[in-house]
């Protein structure tokens, strides 16, 4: 992509957020409607159904729901030699029983999941209408994908399935998240999300499963974590037992192991397995380790044109790129060696709590940056690298 072409994009960015003003209500209405459809991981059908209806109403050439339940829509480009993938995850950490009603104030939207990721989905489904309204025609096909099963034990099932099975020539992936504006993720760390379960056969042993898990935690704490690969171990959740006066029969511990390096994670996993197996030698005790989610280390270098041009577009729009560059979202793309970034659309807070909110005013700037990046990829910034 030539400097002249990039300058054209930067010129087009001038005033683009203002041109998006007529689409503000449509975006907000979509945020509200999406937010109010509960979509816990593995329970996204109704929300994906809404996405597909919106894709159809936008006049996309192809809309469908794939084998695992992702919502797919395709907007044909003028040439169609390559496809740019735009994704937003549809699931939330909130159960169906959570209050999903949201409130629209003059300057913000409040409600469970509005930032993570109703706004991202709303941008995904509104973008075809916006591009048509602004008469922006790209050469590349755009493939809009609302993914299922992305969080926790979902282990990015929807995105991984799509990337492993698509027969399209993908130029790049753009992951859309509601917040924060300035988010520019382009690398993922290696990680293992694991669950250690302990069970005591009461007829054989009177030991409490909590004592077993306590021994395991102490031994995990003794594992050497190499600092040079920024390796860390987080104990996330623990549960077990039935009553304060009865020795616990079952316990479960979930944890996440993270590192810059895939091999470090693999090596430490072996050590954890050995500890768990060792504790299971005790009579009447069984313990095992189950991997519930994992990511691979990798991604784009900071001098990749997609990263450089995205930074330039963000800065041109007055968006300050944030320092963090890592997100688990990128791992799915790393596995398929597809260049990808993740962008945030606006500022928000209390994410993953019921009083989650996003600010309205910056949203159009967030969408403008997304359009700019699309134009840069369409112009060939990933192909020449």
């Amino acid at each position: 992509m030539s400097d002249v072409d990039m300058e054209k994009i930067m010129t087009r960015m001038n005033g683009l957020a203002g041109e998006l003003e007529p689409f503000r209500e449509m975006l907000l209405a979509n945020v509200v409607m999406i937010s109010e459809i509960p979509a816990p991981t593995f329970g996204e059908e109704e929300r994906i159904g809404f996405l597909q209806q919106r894709f159809t109403e936008s006049g996309l050439d192809t809309t469908s729901i794939d084998e695992v339940g992702n919502g797919v829509g395709i907007l044909s480009g003028t040439e169609g030699k390559q496809t740019i993938l735009l994704t937003a995850h549809a699931d939330t950490p909130f159960p169906v029983s959570e209050n999903h009603s949201c409130t629209l104030e003059t300057d913000r939207i409040l409600g469970a999941g509005v930032a993570d990721n109703s706004l991202g989905l709303a941008v995904l489904v509104t973008l075809p209408t916006i591009l048509e309204g602004l008469n922006i025609r790209l050469k590349s096909d755009l493939l809009f994908l609302g993914t299922i099963g992305s969080l926790e034990q979902g282990n990015q099932r929807g995105l991984r399935f799509f990337l492993a099975n698509t027969n399209r020539t993908l130029a790049a992936g753009l992951s859309i998240e509601g917040a924060p504006l300035g988010r520019l993720h382009y690398r993922s760390m290696a990680s293992l999300g694991g669950m250690i379960s302990c069970h005591v056969r009461r007829k054989v042993s009177q030991i409490s499963a909590i004592e077993i898990i306590n021994r395991i935690i102490n031994r995990l704490g003794d594992i050497e974590l190499p600092e040079q690969t920024h390796t860390g171990l987080v104990f996330g959740e623990i549960s077990g037992g039935a009553s304060y006066k009865i020795p616990a029969r079952n316990t479960q511990l979930t944890f996440q192991l993270r590192s810059d390096d895939d091999k470090t994670v693999a090596d430490i996993r072996k050590q954890i397995n050995a500890i768990v197996d060792d504790e299971a030698r005790e009579k009447g005790v069984s313990c095992h380790l189950e991997g519930i989610a994992w990511t691979r280390a990798g991604g784009l270098e900071s001098d990749h044109p997609l990263v450089v041009l995205t930074r330039k577009i963000m800065t041109g729009l007055g968006i300050q790129p944030r320092e963090s560059i890592y997100s688990a979202i990128i791992s799915g793309y790393v596995e398929q060696e597809l260049p990808a970034i993740c962008l945030g659309m606006t500022d928000g807070d209390n994410i993953n709590y019921p009083d989650e909110y996003v600010e309205i005013e910056p949203i159009l700037t967030g969408v403008a940056q997304l359009i700019g990046v699309l134009m840069a990829i369409d112009g060939g910034c990933c192909a020449q690298y």
Partner: protein
Amino acid sequence: MLNIDNWLQSNTFHHGQFWDLLGLIEEKEKKNLTISLCIPTLNEEKTIGKEVVLFKSELQDRYPLLDEIAVIDSGSTDRTLEVAASFGADVYHSAEILPEMGFNRGKGENLWKAIYQLKGDIIVYVDADIKNIHPRFVYGLVAPLIHRNEIKYCKAFYDRPLALSREIRPSGGGRVTEILVRPLFSLFFPELTAIIQPLSGEYAVRREVLERIPFPVGYGVETSHLLDVYFEYGLDAFAQTDLDRRVHRHQETRDLGKMSFGILRTFFKRMKARGMVNDLPELTANLRQFLAQENRYEQVIHEIYEEERPPMIEVPAYREKYGLDAA
């Protein structure tokens, strides 16, 4: 005898029957109809923004079903009007519409003034306190009026009296419906019991009907509508649409007492006018409730005047605005 079974068959709908909005708009345009949405408000800043954005985006910008979206306010002290205006609604202070007619604080007053202020051949009224607002709250109510000329008044209900997994669910009226209004209708106007939620605040009505009925300014407005339209046009002028679930504020039992009082006054006034009850004493405006404080009981008297606004067609300014005297 009673027309209830036939009417339930032919005039009860589910919003899912009207999902084809493009077809609905085509029919609306063919019949040259205009539709106005009126949202009466009093301190509804928490829900009004969402309602306005959804209706504007979905039923004006995406599917042009509504010709105007108006909020008519009784004097909110919160940011209701600011929020509504910022998302594109036309906002009006009820007191500033027909100022020569004075101002009463009450939902019925706002609904009545909407007839003067709004331009639609059909006005659809939707309360502002709905937490799970959705476009169906409008298209589900106006569609029967667009498709069938003989239907003049379409009312919402929110529970389906249908057999589900071999179990018949009771139709879900609210508490005041089940312990006051339905028993009254059963005794005196049994056909009206077919209306599953007579007190629901969401309905679409043709102007030709609205302008000819009086409006209690407070709690009795829904009951008076049903009675007055029934007396004039019969049950066949009504339809009702199932809008599935409606999530809204829970009202205290004491407040339901005030509502019941207003409904009873409206009801007896009409019974008396039709000669159905004789020797009725003059109806007091005082509702008496009691508060317990330790061992003392204190009487609280609420004055509930159920003033009625006259049919709009009798108001000179309205006749002038719509050129009714010229003919």
